[in-house]
């Protein structure tokens, strides 16, 4: 039987995200606080395309979850070159932890990196419900009950904390990256969902900036609360323009929405852009390069 030379073909067909996945795994696994590292989603199932995100589940010792989460933005910025602080993922299913999404430049384009950070005590249950590929399992000792309580309490408080204008701006930028992916793939239903989510984030941004103490839920009483100043009326005009667009966006609609929300932020809560001007410029550059 002749020996076939398949290495070159194998290399040519490996997912483009693999070097970045490997780099990020090395970064995360450096800390002994990380008990498990798993990949989920399309890269775990072999169905990834060039647009696929990199999806990690990161198990962290229960007692160290708070300090790990607090260090994560710095870690991802310094070691991975993340463009922005992490976006608190509101789309991901609740598996007992926290989802954070980062935008990381690599090889001239922005990659979406999803990190689901779970207390080590939740990993066995998580693995029963989510299909993952394990790349690290340090087989930690069972967590003590007080440590489990620390992690649960921290996660609950983290998720319950109202988002700031900066976080809502980052949500827009991340959702726009997702939307461009959906549009390229022709995923109309998911694009519809994420487009609506973007508009909801715009509504939340307007309310956080101009009516932070609002007693009204969701979209109720917007005009009554917001349209009492020229700035408020202009922001509601932006929101009206957003929801008056197509139900399923094209790429130009997404780009227009981002420019509209950046102008809204300059008008209503300019401090949200503090320290983010270069990041926004870089974001625009990378989006143009795609």
């Amino acid at each position: 039987m002749p020996t076939l030379q398949l290495a070159e073909i194998t290399q040519a067909n490996r997912p483009a995200q693999l070097p970045l996945l490997s780099k990020l795994a090395d970064i995360l696994a450096t800390s002994p606080a990380v008990t498990h590292l798993m990949v989920r989603g399309s890269l775990a199932h072999g169905t990834a395309d060039r647009l696929s995100d990199v999806d990690f589940v990161v198990g962290v010792h229960d007692a160290q979850l708070p300090v790990f989460i607090e260090a994560l933005d710095t870690l991802m910025s310094v070691e991975a070159g993340a463009l922005l602080p992490g976006w608190r993922d509101t789309i991901v299913a609740d598996l007992g932890g926290l989802g954070m999404v980062f935008l990381v430049p690599d090889d001239g384009r922005l990659h979406q990196i999803d990190l689901y950070l779970a207390p080590a005590s939740r990993i066995p249950r998580l693995r029963e419900t989510v299909s993952t590929a394990v790349i690290l399992d340090r087989e930690p000792a069972p967590a003590a009950t007080p440590d489990i309580a620390v992690a649960e309490s921290f996660a609950a408080a983290f998720l319950a904390r109202p988002r700031t204008c900066t976080e809502l701006l980052i949500e827009h930028l991340v959702l726009a990256v997702l939307l461009h992916k959906r549009i390229k793939r022709g995923q109309r239903f998911v694009a519809y969902s994420e487009w609506h989510r973007l508009h909801t984030a715009t509504k939340d941004l307007v309310k956080t900036a101009l009516a932070p103490a609002s007693q009204f839920w969701g979209w109720y009483q917007l005009r009554e609360e917001i349209a009492v100043t020229p700035i408020g009326r202009a922001c509601l005009g932006d929101l009206d323009a957003a929801i008056s667009g197509p139900a399923i966006p094209e790429a130009a609609d997404v780009n227009g929405a981002i420019e509209r929300v950046l102008a809204l932020v300059e008008r209503a809560c300019p401090q949200a852009l503090d320290n983010l001007h270069d990041a926004v410029t870089a974001y625009r550059t990378y989006q143009e390069l795609v």
């Binding site: 970064i27 450096t30 260090a71 710095t74 070159g81 270069d278 990041a279 390069l289």
Partner: protein, 223 residues
């Protein structure tokens, strides 16, 4: 262009620069350099990727016998790529030739990318150079003073670094402190001092000593 004409030769030193084979494939660049008519010591393309840094340092210290200057010609850049010297941030925009005196402590960064690509030419001073440099200008808007960092801010950053090191991310903690040079106007070598202080607080005196020595070497401190 370098001493040997071999593009792989990257140790910079005094010489009469010779074209490399790489320059032979870059006729526009070759023509541009020829038009400048300068007395080149070394000419190279330098690519600085996103999230890449040249930490605070001095150059040329060992080359002090002849007057020479470092010129930067930006070919591709972005607003998060800049140089810091003397607590001032300068983004070298395209369309200009920039002169750096590298014997002053300086650092370079490209925080967010995309790649920054500069043509860097070390040139000897002669009449051609003096004509080129006879009206140097630095528009006030280009040089942006960095804010000072008070002791509270530095203490907070050191605490963040300590937490990262405690998690096991020691090198990340060091890099976080080194990056302060690009955010704040700091006295020379402060970032290295902070790293030494970090390691001292963690009980790693070997690392603290190593970083103190690195500071002296990179900043060419003799005292």
């Amino acid at each position: 262009m370098n001493a040997s004409g071999d593009a792989a030769d990257v140790t910079i030193g005094d010489c009469a620069a010779r074209p490399t084979g790489l320059l032979g494939n870059m006729p526009a660049t070759a023509a541009f350099l020829a038009d400048l008519g300068l007395n080149f010591m070394w000419v190279r393309l330098a690519r600085l990727e996103g999230n890449a840094f040249l930490w605070e340092h001095r150059d040329y210290d060992e080359l002090d016998q002849v007057e020479r200057h470092r010129l930067h010609i930006p070919l591709h850049t972005n607003s998060s790529a800049f140089l810091v010297t003397g607590g001032t941030k300068v983004h070298m925009a395209g369309g200009r030739i920039w002169r750096l005196t590298p014997t002053y402590a300086h650092g370079v960064c490209n925080l967010l990318g995309p790649d920054r690509i500069h043509l860097i030419a070390d040139v000897y001073a002669d009449d051609t150079y003096r004509r080129l440099a006879r009206r140097p200008a630095l528009h006030p808007a280009v040089a942006e003073p960095l804010p000072a960092a008070d002791q509270t801010t530095l203490a907070e950053r050191l605490e963040t670094a300590r937490n990262m090191a405690t998690l096991g991310y020691t090198e990340a903690a060091e890099r976080m402190l080194l990056r302060l040079f690009y955010t704040y106007a700091l006295p020379e070598g402060t970032a290295y001092d902070l790293i030494a202080e970090l390691h001292t607080s963690l009980g790693d005196m070997e690392a603290a000593t190593r970083w103190t020595a690195a500071k002296r070497r990179l900043l060419a401190l003799t005292a």
